[in-house]
């Protein structure tokens, strides 16, 4: 069965390997350049905090790197979704399932190899990107941000396994490649958004820091902001919160209305009247814990989808 899987997928495997090799070359060249810029900056302008808008690389390459977030999805759509669906659609499953191998074995072996291939591909791309992003993350401390967290570390491996399982399961249930592709696309994008924008913020109880408005607080390193705002003297947030609360045309506390002529003094006025800023966030030290949790959740989701796939395979006629 391993040989059969290899025979059927070696072209796609070669294509993926070629794309990975091309990406490796591009990222190695541009990444080494960025590292060099970064190191000379560290020795030079960083010491005097005078680097200004230090440019580590061309935006084209930044865009390319951002696009690697699609790797797990593409694997799910073009390896996962057709894996069962294409066989059912063309009837070749009737050939495969009447050789001297059970359907279960057939599905288990090819699922295993394709999951492994997708995980290795996503892992390799993510390792490259993590390295490439190193100087940028050190400079801007944004590794924990949504669109960075998602393309670095081990999370892409979890996404790839999930996308594959989603594709395989959709193909098994829908029995048609194109609908399975569509469901994989929509399902993967939806679930990923749900986690990235909402659920991830709450994997651990966030830390809340209160600070005086005159000395805004920024955590060390790359943090994940959950919420930020202002609380009044009574500890309750005033109406209208947000980063730009004071300067946003929102009601300014009545006591500080007179300060409105001198915007710079509003913060000190509010601070004097007991207003404090707060930041609720996940500190940088939790980055790898969050990577682990996120990966774990997606692997568990994948396991559930594969469980459904095997159950349907057993219960339904070929």
């Amino acid at each position: 069965m391993t040989w059969v899987t290899w025979r059927q997928y070696r072209n796609q495997g070669a294509l993926a390997a070629a794309l990975l090799a091309a990406l490796t070359v591009v990222l190695l060249i541009t990444g080494l350049h960025a590292a060099q810029v970064w190191h000379s900056a560290l020795a030079g302008c960083m010491k005097h905090n005078s680097c200004g808008n230090l440019s580590l690389s061309n935006t084209a390459f930044t865009t390319l790197v951002a696009a690697t977030s699609a790797v797990p999805l593409l694997a799910g759509m073009f390896w996962g979704a057709p894996m069962v669906a294409h066989e059912l659609e063309t009837g070749t499953n009737q050939f495969a399932w009447t050789q001297s191998v059970t359907r279960r074995h057939w599905l288990a072996v090819r699922t295993g190899w394709l999951l492994l291939a997708a995980a290795v591909l996503a892992g390799a791309v993510s390792a490259l990107v993590t390295w490439w992003m190193g100087p940028d993350h050190a400079l801007n401390a944004d590794a924990f941000k949504t669109n960075r967290f998602d393309i670095t570390g081990i999370a892409p491996v979890g996404y790839a396994i999930f996308a594959m399982a989603l594709g395989i399961c959709a193909g098994m249930l829908l029995r048609r490649t194109v609908p399975a592709l569509a469901v994989t696309l929509a399902g993967f994008a939806g679930i990923r958004e749900l986690f990235a924008l909402w659920l991830r913020l709450h994997y651990m109880t966030p830390v809340t820091v209160y600070y005086t408005l005159t000395a805004p607080f920024t955590p060390k390193g790359s943090y994940l902001a959950v919420s930020q705002g202002i609380v009044g003297p009574n500890g309750q947030p005033p109406v209208g919160t947000g980063n730009n609360y004071v300067f946003n045309g929102e009601p300014i506390p009545a006591v500080c209305q007179t300060a409105i002529q001198h915007p710079a003094s509003i913060a000190s006025c509010m601070a004097a009247h007991g207003y404090r800023g707060y930041l609720t966030y996940q500190p940088a030290s939790r980055f790898w814990a969050f990577q682990g949790i996120e990966t774990g959740i997606f692997v568990v989701l994948a396991a559930v989808l594969l469980g459904v796939t095997f159950w349907v395979l057993k219960r339904r006629d070929a």
């Binding site: 009447t98 050789q99 001297s100 059970t102 359907r103």
Partner: protein, 303 residues
């Protein structure tokens, strides 16, 4: 000796449609059985149930002594060729031989190469680029290379031109010559496969109408033709399968329970096709309303 195939009350329902109902058939070892019936009669369903690709709703099937199941040992005994002749379009014959070699314990890849060489079918071209006849030959060769004890072929001739049909049936007859391979092949036209078959299963309206060795069936049936008259006397002694009446003449297909004595009837031996057509109209009610019947009646009145 136990039959290779034995089913009793085998039934398959898909939501509201009953594809096969109460199917009880038996096929002895070494037979080439023609599974015939109009489109939608349940032929494919029966073959898929026997191959273990589908599970019955009710009843049971025994193939080579046990129920069809997902088990390598069982699957190794069965050769199945689906109607659409599914092969991997991008893979060559050589690739298919490789797949078979990796998935089957008794694989005979050499036999496929020999057969394809004999038919001048290239080993190194993607299956999708072969002609329908070549694909069918390749698929049959692959199925035979498993060395199955039971070969299930679903409408293998449907896509073939007359020459390819002849070649295909010749290959089949050759494979069966050893005597320990049992073959069931379906077709909606008995004429196509009459030549190679020595057993017949007739399905119509999802039910079995007829099952037995062709020799026995031929011996049991007669066509009686005579002036238009009351048939109750015949019906008392024999089973009237079908009755066609015109203004002047009555033609009967009967299943005999002894000799026909009344000299008013001209007795003829039917061929297999006439028997099959005679039974084809039989639906659940046992007479009358099937589409096969309607067509046959129209023909009868023209005469």
């Amino acid at each position: 000796m136990t039959p290779v195939i034995e089913t009793s009350g085998l039934t398959k329902r898909y939501r509201r449609v009953t594809a096969l109902s109460d199917c009880t058939v038996s096929v002895p070892e070494g037979r080439i059985s023609a599974l015939v019936g109009p489109n939608g009669a349940g032929k494919t369903t029966l073959l898929r149930l026997l191959a273990g690709l589908a599970a019955p709703t009710a009843g049971r099937a025994a193939v080579l002594g046990a129920a069809p199941r997902q088990d390598p040992a069982y699957l190794a005994e069965i050769g199945f060729l689906a109607q659409e002749i599914p092969l991997y379009r991008r893979l060559t014959a050589q690739d298919h031989i490789g797949i078979g070699a990796h998935l089957n314990p008794r694989w005979n890849g050499e036999s496929v190469r020999d057969r394809l060489a004999g038919l001048k079918i290239p080993l190194d071209r993607p299956a999708g680029t072969l002609s329908g006849g070549q694909r069918a030959q390749l698929a049959l060769a692959l199925t035979l290379a498993k060395r199955p004890r039971l070969l299930l072929l679903d409408e293998p001739l449907a896509a073939l031109d007359p020459l390819a049909r002849r070649d295909f049936l010749a290959a089949l007859a050759e494979a069966a010559a050893g005597g320990d391979l049992t073959i069931v092949l379906s077709s909606h036209l008995i004429a196509d496969i009459e030549r190679v078959c020595d057993h017949l299963i007739l399905l119509a309206g999802s039910r079995v109408q007829l099952c037995g060795d062709t020799e026995t069936l031929l011996a049991e049936h007669r066509i009686l033709a005579g002036p238009r008259k009351d048939t109750t006397a015949i019906a008392r002694a024999h089973v009237i399968v079908r009755e066609d009446t015109t203004a002047r003449q009555t033609t009967l297909l009967v299943r005999l329970n002894g000799p026909v004595i009344d000299p008013a009837w001209a007795v003829e031996e039917p061929d297999l096709e006439e028997i099959v057509l005679g039974y084809m109209g039989q639906d659940e009610a046992g007479h009358g309303a099937g589409h096969g019947e309607a067509r046959l009646s129209a023909v009868g009145e023209d005469r």
